[in-house]
């Protein structure tokens, strides 16, 4: 069978099966100079972060700017950000798939890889935030099931397991393809394909199992994905601080996460498309569709933003009022308004216009959305902590400000590098676009 069977993909790609396989397996075998330089760069960033973490372990959390007031710094902002972008996996490989958006097929694997990388780094960053990481095991052994922290631990582990399964199931036929077609790879890589391909032969019964299990997971991942970010929001809403005492926080977090996830996938599409020369597979049509989706998700997030701030800013009661004043007019105002304008209003307004949904402009806009999303998490965490309901008498001046130290920045950048490293390594091991779904999934 030389021609691809999937009518959608043949129409879009217009290539034979061999050509598709050749195109999509090309990047797995080749390690270019740029790939190596990229890995070296990520390695250096991670090493600096490891050194900073060594200092944190050696001297304690004193090397950070976290004190009694701001006890959650950029580590927790970063954790919330990573949890948010991990929702991209459920957005593309589940919500779009279940809504029969077949155009999203080439994007499923990218989104699943990003989801796994983000959730792994979110888990690591939580342990980094602990003053005594050696005591993490006590959270499991002596955990109180009524604590939202335990709910978060449970849900993160569950979501990671589901995300790995989702990625793995769709990988099995492609691993078999790698096993059969790739001969210029190291022995360990060949062995890896053999073991994880599970003796795949493309039998009808094997396809049936893949379709059945992935359908179950696609449905199951949605409540789990919603739960993971809702539970993260409960970590805040169950803590007695202004700005967090809100019933809106769950949907507010989830809608923000889906928006950030869509922006991340657009950025990933742009760079993967260009660096792996996949312009015929990730087309302008994909950017166009993702742009429309980003407008929709941004509008939903705008709605929850208005809900989040309108009530407290109308009442301006006590510490809540101080918190709102600081966000709207105080020392965090420039950050707050930049986030609202460039990270929220801009994508809604700009991406309505088709020319701005072309690959480069939409990538730039998505980049702004992502920066806005990260700063937004900073604004959710830090200003609230600086306005406790029960302030300390004669509080130390340093407690009233929070400027992250170089160690915190180094670890934060290392966590970003960690996400990119995991994504890069997986992409160098397996086809980044599901080959079998483009060629023979109609069987």
């Amino acid at each position: 069978m030389d021609l691809v069977d999937n009518p959608d993909s043949t129409r879009e790609v217009g290539k034979s099966r061999q050509q598709i396989e050749q195109d999509l397996l090309r990047h797995v075998t080749k390690w270019t100079k740029n790939d190596k330089l990229w890995l070296l760069f990520l390695g250096v960033v991670i090493l600096i972060g490891v050194f900073a973490y060594y200092r944190q372990l050696r001297y304690g959390l004193l090397v950070t700017a976290m004190r009694d007031y701001t006890s959650w710094g950029i580590y927790i902002s970063n954790f919330v950000f990573f949890v948010a972008i991990s929702l991209v996996g459920s957005l593309v490989s589940s919500i779009l798939k279940l809504s029969n958006a077949t155009w999203s097929t080439p994007l499923t694997r990218i989104s699943e890889i990003i989801a796994i990388a983000a959730i792994i780094c979110a888990s690591i960053i939580i342990i980094v935030d602990m003053g005594r990481p050696d005591r993490f095991i006590y959270v499991i052994i002596f955990g109180r099931i009524q604590s939202p922290i335990i709910w978060d631990v449970i849900i993160i582990v569950t979501y990671l397991a589901i995300s790995i399964l989702l990625l793995y199931i769709s990988l099995i036929p492609d691993l078999a393809l790698c096993r059969d077609k790739l001969h210029d790879v190291p022995r360990w890589q060949k062995k890896l394909y053999e073991v994880f391909a599970l003796n795949w032969k493309g039998e009808k019964r094997q396809y049936q199992i893949i379709h059945k299990t992935s359908s179950i997971l696609c449905i199951m991942v949605i409540p789990v994905a919603f739960a993971i970010h809702t539970v993260t929001s409960w970590l805040f809403s169950t803590t007695w601080r202004p700005g967090w005492d809100s019933t809106n926080l769950g949907p507010y977090f989830v809608s923000g996460a889906l928006m950030a996830g869509a922006a991340v996938i657009i950025i990933a599409m742009y760079f993967i498309r260009n660096s792996l020369r996949l312009k015929e597979y990730i087309t302008e049509l994909h950017f166009d569709h993702m742009g429309k989706l980003l407008v929709l998700l941004s509008a939903v997030y705008l709605y929850f933003n208005i809900n989040e701030y309108l009530g407290p800013s109308f009442k301006m009661v006590g510490v809540e009022g101080e918190h709102i004043t600081e966000l709207f007019f105080g020392k965090y105002a420039y950050m707050y308004w930049l986030v609202q304008i460039f990270g929220l209003i801009l994508p809604i307004v700009a991406l309505i216009y088709k020319p701005l949904r072309a690959p480069f402009p939409i990538m730039v806009i998505s980049f702004l959305v992502i920066i806005g999303a990260w700063v937004k998490r900073f604004l959710i965490v830090i200003p609230s902590l600086q306005h406790p309901y029960l302030p300390i008498q004669d509080v130390d001046e340093s407690y009233l400000h929070y400027i992250p130290t170089w160690e915190e920045w180094a670890i934060t950048f290392a966590s970003f590098a960690g996400v990119l490293l995991i994504v890069t390594l997986i992409i160098k091991l397996v086809p980044v676009i599901p080959v079998w779904e483009l060629t023979d999934n109609k069987e």
């Binding site: 109180r144 099931i145 299990t213």
Partner: protein, 289 residues
Amino acid sequence: MKGVWKCFAVVAGLVLSAAIQGHAAQQDQKSRARLYLTYFKYSPTDRYLNIKVITRKERRNVPVEDVKIEFYLGEKSSAGYLGSIMTDREGQGSLLLPLSFYAAADTLLSYLFVATLTDNSEYLDTDMELEIIDASIELHGIVQDSQRTVQAIVRVRDSTLALVTVPDVPLNFLVERPLSLLPISDLKRTGDKGIAMSQFPSDLPGDREGYVTVVVKIDDHDPYGTVLQRETLRWGIPTSFDDKSQKRSLWSARANTPIPLLLLVNGLILVTWGIMIYIVRELLQIKHI
């Protein structure tokens, strides 16, 4: 040949003088640290040496962090070596006296402890000596005419190593509370027979069964150091504590989860992970097709 030796002697002299000057200059650059050594005897088999290291910086006392302090009994030799500690951020550290100390302790009239700071790149070599006479406290609870009294007898060893009572030793009478020690009387002193007494209050809350732990303490005394003796007596008022924290609730500090929550969370975990195990089982079947 003589000239060569002369030359060599001059060069050697210069090198040696430069080295001595260099060493002296290095010593001059070092700061002076002060050691404060104290002795704690919590029980006959539980004794500590505490050290605090400070230095003067900008006319202020500043704790010296991360320096190694070695401790000796008697003299600075391997035979008298007791152990070493690194000072913490407060410039402090504690050494639990090792078994070797107890082996020597019974044969000594007094203990001469030496703490030393040596071979440090930032601080001059310094040491501090502390001579301690081992004092012991015997504690009794006496009830007479419904009056409860705590009696303490302080003893030390005389020149024949026999225990003798000591007069005029200041004693604190305290009881253990959850976070600290509560004094039950003013400072007392032992009389001629080495005995001090304190009345025990009649309205002191104890645990559920009325037990309280009485502590008699010689506090930072020269030459006895700090010495404590404890005794648990059933002299308190039995007190029942508020056990709200023991009940099942969301806000309970203990692991008493409400049953519905327990069922819900565990049910969700079982269902979700059950489905995942089913999926893994299905995937493994692919291998056998």
